[in-house]
Amino acid sequence: MNSRSIADICRDNERLIIGASAFAAFLVMWEGFSRGWWATLLAPLLGESARALAIKPIFISSPTGVAQQSWTMFAITGEIWPHIAQSGGQLVVGLGAAIVVGVPLGLAAGRYRTFSYILDPFLSALNATPQVAFLPLFVMWIGTGFWMRVLIIFLLAVIPITMNALAAVRTVDPRLLKVASSFGATELHTFRTIIAPSALPFILSGMRLAVGRSMIGIVVAELYGSATGIGIMINMAGASFDTDKVFVGVLVIVIAGLLMTEGLRAIERRFDGWRPAIGDNM
């Protein structure tokens, strides 16, 4: 007999229930500000000053407004798709290149001291400057096209990926490296069997940082001579006080970021099955 009580079900899905409730409360608060609910509700208490609680939708939009606008842009006019395609393409190329270049570079620098002496000054210098400061230079070099935007995304993303991969190798247990060389493992085999598995969680967390930074890259880079793209769409909507549209753009970025971060988590879980779960009952 299945005798799970409601209390049990609540406990098992605690994370989901609390998270969803908090988010729902946030949406209601937001809607309330833009519709003046709170102003009306608290007027007897606060008097005149309650009016500050009604905020014009032009400034903050509202959940229903955003939902309606999304429906229009996705399903009716379909105008958002070219923006998503444009920005998505830049993101995939820029972030993909950052991973392909950053991971091997970082691993090599972590493993070979001499190579890290070469890479370190460049990496530290790049990390210490706001990378968007390079934008005007890139525009000068390669104009304002697709590749300029890919380049800025690449630059933003490659730094945390490389730095994390480098640090990851330094955390590998030296005793395991000793086991590998005692058994005569080749360098490649050592990378595959010792370095990669212990470095993986650090590399993935570097990628998670990189996802967030490439989103910055999209929004900033599209300010330069771009006609389509989520970043420029947000910007133009903002300039014409089309707040609903701004929020739709922001929402697209948030969702894309969440999807990618969750994807990386899934990869981590897939390869980290051996790790005892924290808080697991022993």
Binding site: V179, G184, T193, P197
Partner: protein, 261 residues
């Protein structure tokens, strides 16, 4: 008889990378081990036993002097030698069976065959039923037995064992000692065995080499002239006690000298 393994004036100096300080861990170690001989090394903690074993394996280059195996100078690890490390040093992301397969994989044995061979040794160290467990699911003693199986499965000519039974309970330890002697006798292996237990050293060995406190030097060779096969009853034999006393006082004197200086 030709010596299987020779150490000639091996010195090893560790350098602290940050301070540049030097620490002499091994001071002109010279010894030789015959083919098929079982030799133990005992000595105070920190006297350089693990360091010496790493030099013999080829993991650490000697600062001066040389290690010769079968007439050839050792400069890197080879399949003729396998180490049972002092810390179990298992790959945490691999199951017991796949840990035992590790060395076979490194020398290119096909996966199916490696698993089959590894399984025999997993059973030998008494871990059947745990072959698919991860190291964190095992006790310290069980992890140590995986470490042992990982070296034995390589079927090396020379076994280099660094306190392999230190983490085991008395019963398992005695069982493993007998298993080790059985493998050693059957497969004609040469064993270099490090231990802190004087009785273990005597029970297992043809010869016990006593190291002095740091820097490690060979202080004395004590031959164990007791016939084989040996049974556990031997541990109550007067000859056994005499050897035990002798080795104990060698180490003890040295510890006293060290403490006074």
């Amino acid at each position: 008889m030709t010596p299987k393994l020779v150490a000639k004036d091996v010195c090893l100096e560790y350098r602290q990378p940050r301070t540049g300080d030097r620490l002499l861990a091994l001071d002109r170690i010279s010894l030789s081990v015959n083919e098929g001989e079982f030799v133990s090394i005992v000595g105070p903690s920190g006297c350089g036993k693990t360091t010496f074993l790493s030099v013999v394996d080829g993991l650490l280059p000697a600062t001066s002097g040389e290690i010769i195996v079968d007439g050839l100078r050792v400069n890197k690890p080879g399949p003729d030698r396998a180490v049972v490390f002092q810390d179990a040093s298992l790959l945490p992301w691999r199951t017991v069976l796949r840990n035992v397969c590790y060395g076979l994989e490194c020398i290119g044995v096909r996966a199916a065959e490696a698993r089959e061979r590894a399984m025999k040794f997993v059973q030998m160290v008494g871990l059947d039923g745990f072959e698919n467990s991860y190291p964190y699911e095992l006790s310290g003693g069980m992890q140590q037995r995986v470490n042992l199986a990982r070296a034995l499965v390589m079927d090396p000519k020379i076994l280099l064992m660094d306190e392999p039974f230190a983490a085991l309970d008395a019963q398992t330890r005695e069982y493993m000692q007998e298993e080790l002697l059985r493998i050693w006798e059957q497969a004609n292996k040469t064993v270099l065995f490090i231990t802190h237990q004087i009785d273990e050293a005597i029970f297992l060995s043809d010869r016990v080499i006593v190291f002095s406190a740091r820097p490690g030097r060979v202080r004395e060779h004590v031959t164990v002239d007791i016939e084989r096969p040996r049974s556990l009853k031997l541990k109550r034999d007067p000859r056994f006690h005499a050897l035990e006393d002798r080795i104990w006082s060698l180490i003890h004197d040295d510890a006293l000298v060290q403490a006074r200086s």
